[in-house]
Amino acid sequence: MMPRSKLISQTESKQKIMYRYDQYDHQMLADRIAQFRDQTRRFLEGQLSDAEFLPLRLQNGLYVQRLAPMLRVAIPYGMLSSVQMRKLAFIADHFDKGYGHLTTRQNIQFNWPALADVPDILAHLADVEMHAIQTSGNCIRNTTTDQFAGVAVDEVEDARAYCEIIRQWSTFHPEFAFLPRKFKIAVCGTRQDQAATQVHDIGLYLLKNEHNQIGFRVLVGGGLGRTPVIGSEIKAFLPQEHLLTYLDAILRVYNREGRRDNKYKARIKILVKETGVSDFRDKVEREWMLLKDGPLTLTSTEVERCRAFFHDPQYKSIPSHSNELETALNTDVLFSAWYEQNISEHKKPGHAIVTVCVKKTGFAPGDLDSDQMRFIADLSDRYSFGEMRITHTQNLVLADVEKSQLYNLWKDLKTRDLEADNLGLLSDMICCPGGDFCSLANAKSIPVAEAIQRRFSASQLREIGQLSLNISGCMNACGHHHVGNIGILGVDKKGEEYFQISLGGSADHNTALGKIVGPSFSQEEVPDVIEKIVTVYQQHKASGESFLHTYNRLGMEPFKEALYGNKADEHQTD
């Protein structure tokens, strides 16, 4: 452990690299907690009905789940300070069973809090500038971005300031608190999209036009769930000052015209499809003309104010080559394997982006216990300016580590089972909590994830290479199965848990939706099925060819053949 004084000084330094609340932001949270405390009291005293309390608690992140309430805490655009992480550990210990679960929306969930404690938990969160506002319910949810924002090589623009601007605009927006359905926005400013931007209700790509002005390419109507859709472009270049007026216009069209007669047809993707992209765009433009250049137009002062929170930390000026790193790579094979898989290039010489893969076999994907939380917080203080990020693939990022420190960091991670070197490999799955916890699930996803992890050895996984495998326990698709190279969906067949396999999905700049390979399989069959799919890939791949590329070249047939032989046609597809 490092001395307390050093901890504090590094905590202070992070003020320049994260958004910090002013008195307005603090007051907003204080008012919210008082309001929710009163609502909870009225509910417990029987003055508020279940139905009336439901949307109120949901908009504070509180579900009633299979075993207990579940509280989803927002981690805005995935950024977290060490102080905040320690607070999450405190909450896990005092109000939960000592752990939390990272979600695909860069949030963290606690599965065991008591309803009556929730206002107190919210007050603890507010102490460290955190909240659970609008993490569920039919409203605008936590805005997400690429976890490498601000540190990626060749970034167009840092998305975080815009995410914060959107966070404030969407927080308690009076007109959009009771939308037809939930609404998710992602902003991406990196060249390699890691935010699954195209499968959001609104996806925003940061761009610069020929005059070097910053703006957004606006996609609308993407989403996963029962009806997966890739978003459609409705604006090729929206200058940044118009961001919020344009969002207001889209949301108003959706709020008025989105379907409310059928929950499964209520997302904006259905409205865009039923209206047609061109007509939908016209409707938005018509609303926008009313709002454009009005008071909600962003001022350069506000853009600069928000951007100023996300300045670079005080990087040391160091050479890009590190002798310490070189020596360690040459002498420690295990470290070298981790380095190959979990380290990404940083924009500053001599620095690296480290992804701590929270997918060790035997542990539920995305789960972190409170000791690990505190430990990672300490590591972030020691190695990465007291700041970390949550990824939508349920991992953690230390974004600013000096290369010369990587070996020390890895040795530290090993002491707490956090040295998994499977980032981006088949075993680094996205997996929802599934039927073990969630009342919506058709099937348990965690045991399936573990069975697959156990099927492959570390060397086999490295041999297979980059391959995304996403698992959802039901068609609500929290595990993003549609956009996994291999997708697994839990389905209910006459009361039995079955799993439907899809192939060819992708969530990057070239987002693609996977296609269902055929009839579904029982839980015991799934590891064999995955192995057969991987074998087909390995038999057919050209040297260095990725799974996705190989699949796109070969098509579905050879995989189908391997899984069903000639019997495929006799089965009924689900």
Binding site: D22, R32, H173, A177, F178, L179
Partner: protein
């Protein structure tokens, strides 16, 4: 909702006031217009669109109410003679009347009273006010005194609204 006149559930200008209007839920209730002579009436949109002239020739004021699926544009041409437009929340989770209220104020520049009727609950009043509602007919079971405090749930807001046209970022 049957035709009724209650005096204790209407909030205007931050206080409880007597309600002088009769909300006519269904045109069936208007069979004998004579009985309602001298009475201020809020009538359903379809009725008002077809029977406007006859009902307006009666003694007493006439206003109109829109259900959540009915759009303000349908009365845009008549707003200057409507003292009041009521927007109905068929259930409190139906968020369309919020947009209707803002549209009436912003697009059509409506200056008269916009009244929330239907499933009007304490916990939504703050949002309603910011969207341009200035009168609130509470659902019968609501505690009117508790509801009055709801307008102070938050000291400020990030977004522009009808009550504060400047977003916080232009004031902070």
């Amino acid at each position: 909702m049957e035709t009724r006149q209650m005096s204790t559930r209407l909030i205007k200008h931050g206080t409880l006031v007597p309600d002088t209007w009769v909300l006519v839920k269904s045109p069936d209730e208007l069979e004998s217009l004579e009985k309602l002579t001298g009475q201020d009436l809020i009538v359903p949109l379809p009725y008002w669109l077809t029977e406007r002239q006859s009902i307006e020739s009666r003694k007493g004021q006439t206003a109109v109410w829109l259900n959540s699926n009915e759009i303000p544009e349908s009365i845009a041409g008549y707003l200057d003679r409507l003292p009041l437009v009521a927007l109905n929340f068929p259930e409190f989770k139906d968020g369309r009347p919020y947009s209707s209220a803002r549209e009436l104020r912003q697009r059509w520049g409506y200056q008269g009273e916009i009244r929330a009727v239907g499933d009007v609950l304490r916990d939504q009043l703050f949002f309603m006010k910011r969207c341009g509602f200035d009168a609130f007919l509470l659902r019968e079971d609501q505690n009117p005194d508790a509801a009055l405090t709801a307008f102070h749930d938050f000291q400020d807001a990030y977004q522009p609204g009808i009550t504060q046209p400047l977003p916080l970022f232009r004031r902070r």
